[in-house]
């Protein structure tokens, strides 16, 4: 395949073709394809399978969505949302000991190591947008991030970013689609900001140099995504997140006089002042284990999501650093959460081969006409239902109807018929529109232009988060949140293309409003860690084991047989120090 297989790199092709026991089912997919193709051509792609009614959606969600499973949620016992049912794994890390002892750090608080107007925590597109807008508003900015600037879920987004830029569309229509996708539980003021700012964000990104896909006359290419009533999905090939974030990062590097960036420096606790305002953070040099006191007039939390908590044992599409740190820090400081009972499972995560288990197969595959089919080769669901509904339908097809395809390791999967795209559109479409996907599977010997992919829902997105208003303010003065760490924009179900939008829209808002707040702030008061002390007391009352520590910062992938031999190693929670 042109431009794809580099003879210099060895991909061990023989090793990963589909095992022979799957061949019979693969044949059925090929056999049913002409009939499916005919329907798509004659009736139109939106009519290939009936969409579910509101009642059918409810039913499949309640019976099969992982959020509704027993043990998926439990009541959190301490903090501002005490008594509320939230995702079990999140409740566990909230009810955990801090990484630092307030008494040890108290003397350091009098002499901060760094001072800034706005501290941004997180280096994805929300953090980067916040830093740029805060700087533009006139603030001095410090951006700290656990790994490198740009290491984030943002960079992995493939499919697109929504914006109502076409004449037949409008921000009001966008609003309606978002509300419906979120089952009308979304916070209206956030959805309004999302839809109304979208074209402005696209303009801003274009001026900074983001290369959106265009038609020859300059018109932005727009397509449908799951749950859109107008074609509204803009894209940068299937590197949309990378295409945006690489520009934001470059721009930050160009403004290095006013925006200081510290890589490999996670925030481990927020600092507060006597008036109960957030006034900075304790950050850790992740490589030397030095801790620094950062005094800041305002803090923007932009730490992203929770995929690496592997809720209910699901594999994830998420970045290595997606460990829910921002919610933990904010919650300890008294910030309320919204919809932390809801996690998005993306319908199409790779399940074969094992090496790419959980990897994202972009919704764009279905957007281009790709069809999910069962082991008999039959279509069983409209391909572009809202994500939670689509994922639940996949789980039902495998678990209840026994129509899934088992992998050698015992996972279940659904075929995602990608080759049909080449016939529906024209040959070469897949390689042009989905270069990242082609490359991903080619590395493991699967040619998605000729063979389907095997997929199953994978943990993808934190629907809930810190409760903010449209200015990104939490209920704690001085604390702002933007991006995946914020809750409410999507209700309990996000639509494709609205996360890339959320991180840029609210990143910009958080940066602007945090800077305005910081610049207007008159007196600075002494810093304290009383909130950490108070929270620890509650943790102690619950009798939580001392080994349970958060923010967890990194997932723990060291096998137990190694740990047993690490006789002098010290693990603080999951992190070996």
């Amino acid at each position: 395949m042109k431009g794809i297989s580099n003879p210099e790199n060895q991909y061990s092709e023989d090793l990963f073709m589909y095992p022979s026991y799957m061949h019979e089912s693969l044949k059925l997919v090929e056999q049913t394809r002409p009939a499916r193709l005919k329907i798509a051509r004659e009736k139109g792609r939106s009519k290939i399978f009936p969409s579910m009614t509101a009642e059918e959606r409810e039913d499949v969600l309640h019976k099969f969505h992982p959020d509704y499973k027993k043990d998926a949620k439990r009541a959190v016992r301490i903090g501002p949302n005490a008594g509320e049912e939230i995702t079990t794994e999140v409740a566990d890390i909230l009810e955990s000991w801090p990484r630092i002892n307030p008494d040890t750090f108290e003397p350091m608080l009098k002499k901060p190591d760094m001072e800034t107007d706005v501290l941004v925590v997180g280096g994805g597109s929300a953090g980067a947008s916040a830093a740029l807008l805060a700087e533009q508003t006139g603030a001095r900015v410090l951006l700290v991030t656990k790994l490198r600037l740009g290491d984030s879920n943002s960079v992995m987004a493939q499919g697109g970013i929504q914006a109502a830029v076409n004449p037949q569309d409008s921000p009001v229509r966008h609003y309606l689609d978002v509300m419906g996708g979120g089952h009308f539980d979304n916070k209206p003021e956030l959805v309004e900001a999302l839809a109304m700012d979208a074209p402005l964000v696209v303009e801003w990104l274009t001026e900074l140099g983001v290369m959106f896909d265009r038609l020859p006359d300059g018109k932005l290419k727009t397509r449908h995504g799951g749950g859109t009533s107008r074609t509204r999905m803009l894209s940068c090939k299937d590197y949309t997140g990378s295409g945006i974030l690489r520009v934001l990062r470059d721009e930050i590097e160009c403004r290095n006089e006013r925006i200081r960036v510290m890589d490999f420096t996670p925030a481990v606790e927020l600092l507060m002042d006597a008036e109960g305002r957030v006034a900075g953070a304790i950050v850790q040099n992740f490589e030397t284990d030095e801790y620094f006191i950062v005094r800041a007039k305002a803090v923007v939390m932009a730490t992203g999501g929770l995929g690496r908590l592997h809720t209910q044992g699901f594999p994830t599409t998420n970045h290595y650093g997606a460990t829910c740190d921002g919610v933990v820090l904010g919650y300890r400081a008294g910030a309320k959460m919204l919809y932390m009972d809801s996690v998005q499972y993306h319908p199409t995560g790779a399940v074969y081969p094992e090496q790419i288990l959980g990897f994202l197969v972009t919704e764009k595959v279905r957007g281009l006409g790709g069809q999910p089919v069962n082991k008999e080769g039959n279509l069983f669901v409209f391909p572009l239902e809202p994500r939670d509904v689509e994922a639940s339908a996949f789980i039902r097809e495998c678990l209840e109807r026994n129509n899934g395809i088992a992998t050698p390791s015992g996972q279940q999967g659904i075929w995602l018929d990608s080759p049909i795209i080449e016939e529906l559109e024209k040959p070469g479409t897949i390689e042009r529109e989905l270069p990242a996907m082609v490359r991903q599977f080619k590395r493991f010997g699967i040619d998605i232009t000729k063979e389907p992919m095997l997929v199953y829902p994978t943990l993808h997105f934190q629907n809930g988060g810190l409760d903010v208003n449209a200015q990104c303010e939490t209920n704690i003065p001085g604390l702002y949140a933007a991006g995946e760490v914020q809750g409410g924009t999507h209700g309990r179900n996000r639509l494709m293309g609205n996360s890339q939008l959320e991180i840029t829209v609210f990143g910009r808002r958080a940066g602007k409003f945090a800077a305005e707040y910081a610049l207007a702030l008159k007196k600075e008061l002494p810093l304290n860690l009383d909130h950490v002390r108070a929270f620890s007391k509650e943790v102690q009352k619950l009798g939580i084991d001392r080994s349970r520590v958060s923010p967890i910062l990194l997932p723990d992938y060291i096998p137990s047989h190694i740990k047993e031999k690490q006789m002098t190693s010290h693990y603080l929670g999951t992190v070996r120090g």
Binding site: G3, N6, N9, Q10, Y11, S12, G150, D151, V155, G160, V165, N166, Q168, D169, S170, P171, Y175, L176, G180, E192, P199, L200, E203, E207, L208, G209, M211, F212, G218, L220, R223, G225, S229, T231, Y239, S242, R246, V247, D250, E253, C254, F286, E287, T317, H319, Y320, G321, Q355, R366, L368, P435, R439, Q440, F444, L554, Y557, I558, P559, I562, R576
Partner: protein, 219 residues
């Protein structure tokens, strides 16, 4: 890493490192081939060739010798993109080393994304920024090209400048987008938005399920 490890067959280099007890901080990122954090240099058993790959995307082989690259230093000038002319001159000023390209194509051979790196560098040398932007678009900044380049070019930074100049100056403008932005700034949707925001859930639900769907290509 010059040291023997026994790992399960068919592991990626990244999972093999973790299986061996390394808790990664550098050399790890998205784990799906999008972030470029895990650039790795390796040689295969009884083979003189230096190969490059992403640790999260490369399957181990017996006798493979590996080294992970924690960071790739490269020149990064500061500029104001809105003030630059999209011409060859700016590259001569900011990245003069680009024009030292020897034409050896080692950069392209080193690219785990199979990008024709030398071709986009040559496009920059010709002043064809559109071509350079297009050819370099799948770059994930792992930096292997720059490490292997005998002319000491920092290709990935040259690429982002070409892309930004193309995206901000050279790409044709969208009339529809400009108009929509104007409409929003003028407050054209404010009234309708206020009305839909005030609509109760039942009525909104009805609107949603009755809304018409535009025919048209999906993503």
């Amino acid at each position: 890493m010059g040291k023997k490890f026994m790992v399960p067959a068919a592991s990626t280099i990244m999972s093999a490192l973790e299986y061996s007890g390394f808790q990664l901080k550098r050399g790890v990122g998205c784990r799906e081939g999008f972030c470029g954090a895990c650039a790795t240099v390796y040689r295969l058993k009884d083979d003189f060739k230096i190969r490059t790959g992403l640790a999260c995307q490369t399957v181990v082989q017996e006798g493979m010798l590996i080294a992970q690259i924690p960071f790739v230093p490269a020149v990064k000038p500061v500029y104001d993109i809105s003030k630059l002319e999209p011409t060859i001159t700016i590259f001569k000023q900011l990245y003069p080393e680009t024009f030292r390209c020897l034409g050896c194509n080692t950069c392209s051979k080193a690219c785990p994304q199979d990008i024709r790196v030398m071709d986009y560098i040559n496009a920059v040398e010709r002043g064809d920024l559109a071509k350079a932007a297009e050819l370099s678009y799948d770059c994930i900044r792992c930096g292997m090209c720059a490490l292997r380049c005998p002319a000491e070019i920092g290709q990935f930074n040259v690429a982002i400048l070409a892309q930004r100049l193309y995206g901000s100056c050279l790409a044709p403008k969208s009339k529809e987008m400009i108009e929509r932005v104007e409409q929003i700034r003028k407050g054209q949707f404010n009234e309708e938005m206020a009305a839909i925001k005030a609509t109760d859930k039942a009525a909104l639900k009805k609107m949603y399920y009755e809304r018409d769907i535009e025919p048209g290509e999906s993503v």
